[in-house]
Symmetry: C2
Subunit: 334 residues, 2 copies
């Protein structure tokens, strides 16, 4: 049984979509117990709309809510009874295996480091979303947790990303690339130039060299290592272009009778294609390298993404990703 604490108060659609996604996850997998953390009355009200296996759903009261625009360090320190702090403490105390939140990214990142804590030897805990490509899926690591990282941080990201893709997504010997602005080794900024030779020396990863942002959607590497600022820019551009194109195409189809008719015909094929670009398919972004799993999902998450974020915790626990990272990083220090 995998025990997942879920922040019922986080994100634009809380608590409605969070509770709905939780119920859907419980219906889809028998291996999960969820602890919904937040304002009890609000949660119960939403829960009353559904039928669900009550023996696998617990409500954990938390009287405070951390808002998106609050300075995160302050919020984590002061709001001791917030859904994020209470949920993360469940993981810290070992009462839960994972914590899922669509709330303030800053607060989730800070809370992850301060409350759940980094695995001994891990220098930085990267945010590492898995996203769809035409070949399947890739992980982009780091996408926003640690700006201005050092080369040795990126080397750890490569190792952690490889463990994740191999064990959670089942990709054997995942190809590791470094995000760069050209294909050749001599290209790049100072950080990439320093990191490149270090990655070549790591024996137990399959380093394939530079990956240009242009080739990410086609699945140029399974693990794409990057500094958080660049990674965030890549991920957000990916999402932004995808969403904007879909909106424009749909708008275009609705603008004429001919378009509407054609739209009806192509609906199934368009839906299938667009699913390949739907970032919510793989759930949220894990914050890797912590003493327990923390998953950050989009602030705009609907129930499907919440459901997928909860379900992804099963594989993470079953494959003991935390244990594998601990082992790999401790090897490094021998």
């Amino acid at each position: 049984m995998v025990k997942v604490a879920v922040d019922a108060m986080g994100g634009d659609n809380a608590p409605g979509e969070i509770v709905k996604g939780t119920v859907e996850a419980l219906q889809e997998s028998k291996d999960i117990t969820v602890f919904l953390v937040g304002l009890e009355e609000d949660i119960r009200k939403e829960l009353s709309k559904y039928q669900y296996p009550a023996e696998r759903l617990n409500v954990v009261p938390a009287s405070e809510v951390i808002e998106t625009d609050e300075p995160p360090v302050n919020a984590i320190r002061r709001k001791k009874d917030s859904s994020i702090v209470v949920g993360m403490n469940l993981v810290k105390k070992g009462e839960c295996d994972a914590f899922v939140s669509a709330g303030s990214t800053g607060a989730v990142l800070v809370g992850g480091q301060l409350i759940v804590g980094r695995i001994r030897g891990v220098n930085r805990a990267p945010l590492a979303p898995v996203f769809p490509t035409t070949k399947g899926a890739s992980i982009l690591i780091d996408c926003g947790a640690n700006v201005d990282a050092r080369p040795d941080h990126l080397v750890q990201f490569a190792k952690m990303g490889s463990i994740y893709m191999e064990n959670v997504l089942g990709i054997r010997n995942p190809r590791v690339g470094i995000l760069n602005i050209g294909a050749e080794e001599e290209k790049g900024n100072a950080l990439v130039k320093e990191t490149f030779p270090l990655l070549k020396e790591v024996k137990d990863i399959n380093f394939i060299g530079s990956v240009e942002a242009r080739d990410i959607p086609a699945g140029a590497a399974d693990v794409i290592v990057c500094e958080a600022f660049a990674g965030n820019v890549a991920l957000k551009t990916y999402e932004g272009v995808g969403l904007t194109m879909i909106k424009e195409i749909k708008g275009g189809l609705m603008s004429s009778l001919r378009g509407k008719l054609g739209g009806l015909l192509i609906k199934p094929v368009l839906k299938k294609t667009l699913k390949k670009f739907d970032v919510s398919e793989y759930g949220g972004a894990p914050l890797l390298g912590l003493n327990g799993l923390v998953v950050k999902t989009h602030g705009s998450s609907k129930s499907k993404e919440i459901k997928n974020s909860i379900l992804q915790c099963v594989q993470f626990k079953d494959q003991d990703i935390t244990g594998k990272i601990r082992e790999k990083i401790s090897e490094e220090q021998k």
Copy 2:
């Protein structure tokens, strides 16, 4: 009359598409004279396929070609009779107003700085592509010329980008944003945090604060200032996702009879929509801040992009962008 030197040997489709695009540009505008630079025999052979106003087309022989994978500084220094060096010298000597190349990005950037030269007071010459958004177009500055830039470089980029968008694209009082990983002022890496207050102090730009990559396609700012690595990642992701989605949608439509039929119906509307995401619509990326215009177009450019790249030189010359940048930057130094 605007005199444009064109690198006939640059890019994946040289010289065929380059010559074709040149002929198309000459047919579209009477204000242009083109100097096609490269292997004379190859150029003449391509030219023989077309009818064109010969009085406005000159062939300038250059016996060498710089390849994409050559180290750029060496190539520019050694291949004195290459199409890039010969073409840039035409601009340096004032015989041409602009140089357009689809060749090696590195060689074009290095040649621009070493041969054409920076305007006095300009610290770095940024590569600044204009790209389509749902609102019209934005400029992303810098997209790959100067990695690891300093805050004062970004301030100059903001000024040059504003001048370009106001005068070449006719956007009054263009909104300037800094590419960031969050909307709040305290977000970002060290570079962004240092640059942000400097941009707020610049009186003659319309600084609107941070722009997240996600909001770029919707036209969140007219001028998006960024360090070259992040800018290149944003631009390349933009292009990559756009191209991949178009390919996938087209592939999806061809996979069934129903899709094919629907595809026929939606073709006009799809074409119109996709045009909004076609980076070749605005021609190539100008390298700003030089003593003359240098335009870098995609290595994969077809005739349309070459044509648009040549045509964009007219507005640049007519509006005296070089003079306006010179004036603005010299003001700074008083």
